[in-house]
Amino acid sequence: MIAALTLLLTFQLVGEIIARGFALPIPGPVIGMALLFVALMLRGGPNEDLRQTAGQLLQHLSLLFVPAGTGIILYGERLAAEWFPLLVSLFVSTFLAIGVTALVLKSLTHKRHATHTEGRQ
């Protein structure tokens, strides 16, 4: 687990250096993810340690958003004044984005899928 964590942090570090060094608008961890993906393609997949550590981190991904979410208490005044447009926009826009993405993807893959959809989990 320590070896796998070291590897993940190293890729994040390299990602951060690239992001800041080239003043890219993309965050370091996302670049780190892309680099690790390329490394996995070259090496033919993750070892057991990395697979398990990644699985454990991702299983409780929700937990990691809690500290930033609690920041809502900083915006009492603005939320009191603008809660209606913000809330309606968040709900409708999120539903629209899910719906449009799903319908476009479904319509583009439908024919191919009808023939071999059995294999899915």
Binding site: L5, L8, L9, Q12, P25, I26, P27, G28, P29, V30, G32, M33, A34, L36, L40, M41, P46, L50, T53, L57, L58, H60, L61, S62, L63, L64, F65, V66, P67, A68, G69, T70, G71, I72, I73, L74, Y75, E82, F84, P85, L86, V88, S89, V92, S93, T94, F95, L96, A97, I98, G99, T101, A102, L103, L105, K106, L108, T109, R120, Q121
Partner: protein, 244 residues
């Protein structure tokens, strides 16, 4: 107050231990409720944890910064967790590659819908310019959204709250929306949730299946890239077009 208790409080309110432990306790409790509710999306663990912690902080008059000094250790793990998304992506690569064309088109359609509809609805209902520019990147992962908001004239920390709200909304109601549209395929399900609701949607998609999770992770990464590159030049143009 008893002098010893006061000393204990002085220690706890300045040490990171309390914020960190409370975050984990709140999550444990929220996860137990989620489990008890049969993993029903309405009992979203992020939503319940945030509600517990926000209530506690407001009730005790604790500043957010004091809490975050402890909670930052959890927050920090978002970085390595994002890197770790490469592993499910690798596992699903053959299927992703086979769908590359449709995925690209759905990405562009979904990404534009997410940003422009958030801006448009907010503008119609009279939100302030700062709020609108904080809303536009609400569907992408927090660090990208905060950076984009800063460049287009939003408030980065308000953006973080809106991003997490959009994530929770997608995680809670996404399945119901997709059910209405008769979408049963886990790949399509995951991709749509990842576009609209980034990491929180991805966390939820992993509970549906590994395939849904991998497609959500891919959608989150791609939408993050596309939004980071496109919004800084689309938004000034949109504002000019609609005379704002």
């Amino acid at each position: 107050m008893n002098p010893n208790l006061e000393e204990v409080w002085v220690y706890l309110s300045t040490s990171p231990l309390l914020g960190l432990t409370l975050t984990l306790l709140a999550y444990q409790l929220a996860f137990a409720i989620y489990k008890r509710a049969g993993f029903h999306p309405t009992a979203n663990p992020v939503l319940i944890s945030v509600a517990i912690l926000a209530t506690l902080l407001l009730a005790t008059g604790t500043p957010y910064q004091t809490y975050f000094d402890g909670a930052q250790f959890v927050h920090f793990l978002l970085g390595p967790a994002t890197v770790a998304l490469a592993i499910p992506l690798y596992a699903q690569w053959p299927k992703l590659k086979a769908m590359a064309g449709p995925l690209t088109i759905a990405l562009v359609a979904g990404s534009l819908t997410a940003a422009l509809s958030a801006w448009g609805i907010g503008a119609l209902l009279g939100a302030s310019r700062e709020s609108l520019m904080s809303l536009a990147p609400k569907s992408v992962t927090t660090p990208i959204a905060m950076g984009v908001a800063e460049r287009i004239g939003g408030l980065p920390s308000l953006t973080a709250v809106l991003v997490i709200s959009a994530g929770i909304i997608g995680a809670v109601f996404g399945r119901a929306v997709l059910h209405r549209l008769h979408v049963g395929d886990h790949a399509v399900h995951g991709f749509a949730i990842g576009i609209a609701s980034h990491g929180i949607g991805t966390a939820r998609a992993f509970q549906v299946s590994e395939q849904a999770g991998a497609f959500a992770a891919l959608a989150m990464g791609l939408n993050g890239l596309l939004t980071a590159v496109s919004l800084p030049w689309i938004m000034p143009w949109v504002e000019q077009l609609f005379g704002r």
